[in-house]
Symmetry: C2
């Protein structure tokens, strides 16, 4: 299987599915402070989390072990689509006339179409092991909900998904996908929970929000003995499970005989970015010269315009307070099509890396992002998810700079998923109907002023 830079896709054998997840916490000189209980102001301990998560995941959340073994039943499922291909974007390079070498690591080959199953499968497995019968979760656009629905089908767990009502009505295909895998999906706010009923009593026509949906899913799990809750991003253990992406990419670059000079990944909660970047961050901490860039939407610029402070993970103020880059839990991002990036905060581990200058960040407006996505689709075939398209556009800009300077940089894109369920967004772009959002300073200042004054 001799490879060189002429290769189109660097394909690994399934024996190359990583055996361990990589835990960045083992290699950081300092860790993010622990989450704070909003009532007591004290650090949250394992017992506080036990009603929501099985103990194995709680232990992973605080582990400092560098390598955590992936259970064989999880690897068995990973083999359905992993290792995912690393592509050399020969055709895109030609279109751009760039001397840069562009690579993309493509997670859209999973049956759910994104990186999300990497953690969904692990979480379903540990819950099953712990005797849990049923999971709950929230979902916005539906990428996370559908990944968990698939994982629950594999491990024979019941799943109830609280889906933000606006998305539930706009994106029926994502809902049907969940139902095809056997999950129950209800629009949130729903009459099924106290939290939902409270909202409905006041706003019968509420379009819902991720904040409300989280409250419903958490309440459901906390009030039923057989049920736990599952989250698709932000937390340490979720980021941990995604590190199979970066580990595979490292092996694939060995095959290619090169190494990235710069990596671009999109960031919402941070899990896809972390999954690709953390194994490379480890090498950077050891002295390797590499730029790692998180790309966010101008409509939700938590890294580039947020504060680094303690905040709630949800709008409903039910979660512990985490130290992170945040626009404030009352901030409502503009309605861009990259639904997966519309989160007010950022994973504490990603925030810490940014604060320490180990990673960079930039923000892009959505028309530029879709322009890049269409250019990519016409060159490489794959139609990127609107979220992933942020990384694509940033990489295209870098490659164009290389065309000017003549630099032969090696660029890596984290292509976290396909856009098969997001074509409405492409239609709006092609018809010239997309707006670029940039929240005025005043609005962001106001949201930041509402931040809780805890543990600073």
């Amino acid at each position: 299987m001799a490879k060189d830079l002429k290769t189109t896709k660097f394909v690994l054998d399934e024996s190359d599915v990583p055996t361990h997840w990589y835990n960045l916490a083992a290699d950081l000189p300092a860790l993010p402070p622990p989450p704070i209980h909003p009532g007591t102001g004290q650090p949250v301990g394992p017992d506080d989390l036990a009603p929501l998560f099985p103990m194995e995941l709680i232990l992973q959340e605080v582990s400092r072990d560098r390598w955590i073994e992936i259970p064989e039943p999880v690897r068995d499922v990973y083999r359905l689509w992993r290792p995912t291909p690393l592509y050399r974007a020969h055709r895109l390079e030609r279109v751009l006339g760039t001397p840069a070498r562009i690579f993309y690591k493509y997670e859209g080959v999973s049956p759910a179409g994104s990186h999300k199953p990497n953690t969904a499968v692990a979480q379903a497995y540990y819950n099953k092991q712990a005797g849990v019968k049923r999971l709950t979760t929230e979902t916005g656009a539906g990428q996370w909900g559908s990944a968990l629905a698939m994982a629950c089908a594999f491990f024979e767990l019941e799943l109830k998904v609280y889906m933000v009502r606006a998305s539930y009505e706009q994106k029926p295909y994502r809902r049907i996908l969940m139902e095809t895998w056997g999950a129950r999906c209800v629009p949130s706010p729903s009459p099924d929970t106290e939290a939902g009923r409270r909202v409905l009593a006041e706003h019968p026509d509420s379009p819902g929000s991720l904040g409300i949906a989280i409250s419903e899913a958490v309440e459901d799990a906390a009030t039923r003995e057989d049920t736990k809750y599952s989250l698709g991003s932000v937390l340490n253990h979720v980021l941990l499970h995604q590190t199979v992406i970066g580990q595979e990419a490292q092996k694939q670059f060995e095959l290619a005989g090169t190494y990235p000079d710069v990596i671009f990944g999109c960031v919402g909660g941070g899990s896809n970015f972390a999954g690709l970047a953390f194994p490379f961050v480890r090498e950077k901490l050891e002295g390797r010269d590499i730029r790692i860039v998180a790309v966010e939407p101008t409509a939700c610029p938590s890294l580039t315009r947020g504060a680094y402070t303690f905040d709630f993970g949800d709008t409903g103020r039910m979660t512990p307070l985490m130290k992170m880059h945040t626009l404030g839990h009352t901030f409502i991002p503009a309605a861009i099509h990259a639904g997966g990036l519309r989160y007010h905060g950022m994973a504490p581990l990603v925030s810490l890396l940014y604060e320490q200058g180990i990673i960079e960040a930039l923000a892009l407006p959505q028309n530029a992002v879709f322009e890049g996505a269409v250019l990519f689709a016409r060159a490489e075939g794959i139609v990127p998810a609107p979220e992933s398209a942020h990384a694509v556009r940033a990489a295209i800009d870098e490659a164009r700079r290389c065309a000017e300077t003549g630099e032969e940089k090696t660029i890596l894109i984290g292509l976290s998923g396909h856009g098969h369920f997001d074509l409405g967004a492409y239609e709006a772009y092609l018809a010239g109907r997309l707006e670029d959002y940039e929240h005025p300073e005043e609005e962001i200042r106001k949201a930041l002023a509402a931040l809780p004054q805890v543990g600073t």
Copy 2:
């Protein structure tokens, strides 16, 4: 890269992308009779086809060479997703409790989500080579149109797709996919052609049909110097281009150390089935013991209930007459969700094999098909296209028979695509709203009575 039967997916290196297409015509004791010109009653010659197709494709249509070399620029595109994986369906086998070994060859990894790009890319390439600037085609549900749109993006050809109006309105995502790749897509009947205007004058609200759309695309190509026409199934050269599927599968079975006892592929026009089956038909003709089964819908049973005779390829009676299994060009299949299988005829080469008893055929109703598809999705993750699900269901039935008899058969499924754009069909199934169609004898007799009396 040691493999054995425990492997989940048999992945080939891109150096294993076939170098040649396999032409079954070289190995058949007798060929199907040539197509007949409906006006003259004489065999159609290359000159008759020249206004519609470039000469390379016309030559492939009548070639008896066993191997036809795949041009390097076509292989270069194939490498974006080929070789496609062959999966061992371990999880499905466990669910079924069968001693059978179930494999599936998955074409849904192409960016268009099906096997269709295998020929779309080749056709775009040969047209580009011949100096053609623009292609036209028709599409029903949109799988073919989107594959050709992608191929035209790669070779910088203009494309106009006449999409059956009913589908154009019901399946906007498929249309947007074509537009994202740069194609123009109009609902048919359209005011852009004489054929379209004629229908609109009489039926301004016509929902369209594949027959009308073919007439429009052919007229457009025949009346413009810079334009040719492209077809997604039925013809010999289209089937030829699909044989990369079966060749790869043979190599993958060598890795697995086994060989299929029985192959199931769905049939509409016949190209996906032929692509997988023909390389195995060759081995069967050499004496190998293997069953090859074409699976069609009960709503459009051209093999199991049609006549083997000369008929038009389209409802509009514009094409040459081909000897094939047909329900008659006036036959209107019931509105099942497997749109790609709603074709009154069958590829002449596939028809001949069936007539000679080399392949078998069976017909399935759509509720049974979707039941199989959901079972498959919950076991293997992938949500099959409704078309491909016909092969899936037939294989499940075979595996269940093996569970009764204890036979350790090796079963191969042609999984020609995913169902990401067909979730409306899954919703209808899950809600119990799908109907099973079986056309009454009288209706089929009537359609067969309208067959042209030519060249028999």
